[in-house]
Amino acid sequence: MNSMDIRALVLINAKPVLVNDRDHVALAGPPLALLDVAGKSALRRTIENLEPSGIDQVTAVMETNPFYRQGQAAGTRKTDCRVVAPELFWRTCEEVFHQLVQSGAELVLIIRLGAYAEVDLERMLQFHLDQTCRVTRVVQTPAPEVFCISASRRNDAASLFRSGLRKCRSECSFFPSAGYVNPLADARDLRQFAVDVLTLRTATKPAGKESRPGVWVASGAVLENGSRIVAPAFIGSSARVRAGAVVTRCTAIEHHAHVDCGTVVENSTVLPHAYVGAGLDVAHSVVGLGQIANLRRSTTVTVADRKLIGQVAVGAGQRLQSAAARILSLFPQALRRRLTGAEWAQPPKQAPELVPALRRKTPAQREPVGAPTRVHESKTGGEFSSSLVVARRYGDQ
């Protein structure tokens, strides 16, 4: 089988599929297949899954979207990535298929993301050859869109692309698969994918070094003293978890994300370059791109306040620029202070008030208010301190 020229065509244009039997938690942003989950995107994991089967020539075709950055998608140099307008998407797929065939491919594997599927490719290819099929499709629930087409069947491929992978002019053979599959239709699926990767239910593993059982930390991640990471968890490259923060219950902090002091992140995914403010409680959520997708409430809200949820600058240059801007913003204040001799902003008034408030007696410790009760005059009254009021239900008996 290794002598055969097999190539892969990965398509990324899947719109989220609304599933009727549960609440759909949409996340505005790039296709979910491009978002990192425990260190790698579904696209990158799919391409890596192809390599053991000897398929190292991969072409990815994706629709343009404002969140896509050239070079981020595939993450491997071998991948030829083409970004096209939505109206040209299927036409481009058809053209790419022809190019692959002309350049010598004998079999072409078509994978559409959306769904991330782990298929036993060697068995599938063998099935395709044994059955002498024109088109073979993977059958599973939920159904991943994975096809194998003989290069000579250009018309079948064309009909498949023109129908948006819904039907083929000739009958498909169906290859049953029992591998892991995740529809990646919404934030809930994205979160489930992270949980499955961290609990090793998938063949693919978290990217990074397992620093202790169940905790994967990628290179350049900064875990400040006093931060606590409870397994299973993933901390991506150049991510920062500040002092007092707690990361627990299958949480994935993706690359360049920043969790500020004292924040608890529980059963959540913090997307790449997301900033989570100090002293917050993020639970059962996907956070990033200025949004929180709360899975328990089945809702996504946009948070405008950068103190709560923000975005860390994407490029190193931008990060340097924003840090410089922050420092420069202090200069006018310093200058004014120098010129006017004014002091720095006074600390909040709550702090000095706190100490006397703590020293003040609580109502229970104070002297009783009003006229002394009859119990003070009675013989038994002497046994009790003056600050203790004894009330008897039936009078002074």
């Binding site: 917050l280 993020v282 639970a283 709360n294 409430r297 809702t299 948070v303 306040d305 709560l308 949820i309």
Partner: protein, 130 residues
């Protein structure tokens, strides 16, 4: 709205509670908070943006109400408000109700029965008042 005891002030929050709006809102509600045992309900149904400043303002209102032996309750939380309050760990500090009516009713809910009866007897019948 008036319960068996004292009046309850129901106030609708603005749609976008930024730092500036929060300051303005605070100024609006301050007179209601400066009375003895203030009873306030904030209706958060229109809220589509709640900043940290807005949350701080809510806490300030609650603390002010508590200082005067009163209470502040929240009602009809929008999705945004609910998520932000949960995120900032403040949702557990407030009593939160499905609707403003429920929140208002809750103010008289804790009165002992004897006291409630007493208040009912004290109140003149509606025909006499008319």
């Amino acid at each position: 709205m008036e319960t068996n005891s004292r009046p309850v002030v129901v106030k609708r929050m603005p749609e976008r509670v930024s730092a500036r709006v929060a300051r303005k809102f605070w100024q609006e509600v301050q007179p209601f908070l400066s009375v003895d045992r203030p009873q306030l309900v904030f209706d958060l149904s229109p809220v589509v943006q709640l900043d940290a400043a807005g949350v701080e303002m809510l806490l300030r209102c609650m603390s002010e109400a508590h200082r005067r032996d009163g209470d502040l309750k929240l009602a009809s939380l929008s999705e945004h408000a609910a998520v932000v309050l949960e995120l900032t760990r403040t949702e557990r500090l407030f009593e939160i109700y499905e609707s403003s009516i429920d929140a208002v009713r809750s103010f008289s809910g804790f009165l002992p029965n004897a006291m409630r009866q007493q208040l009912l007897h004290k109140r003149p019948p509606t025909s006499a008042a008319a």
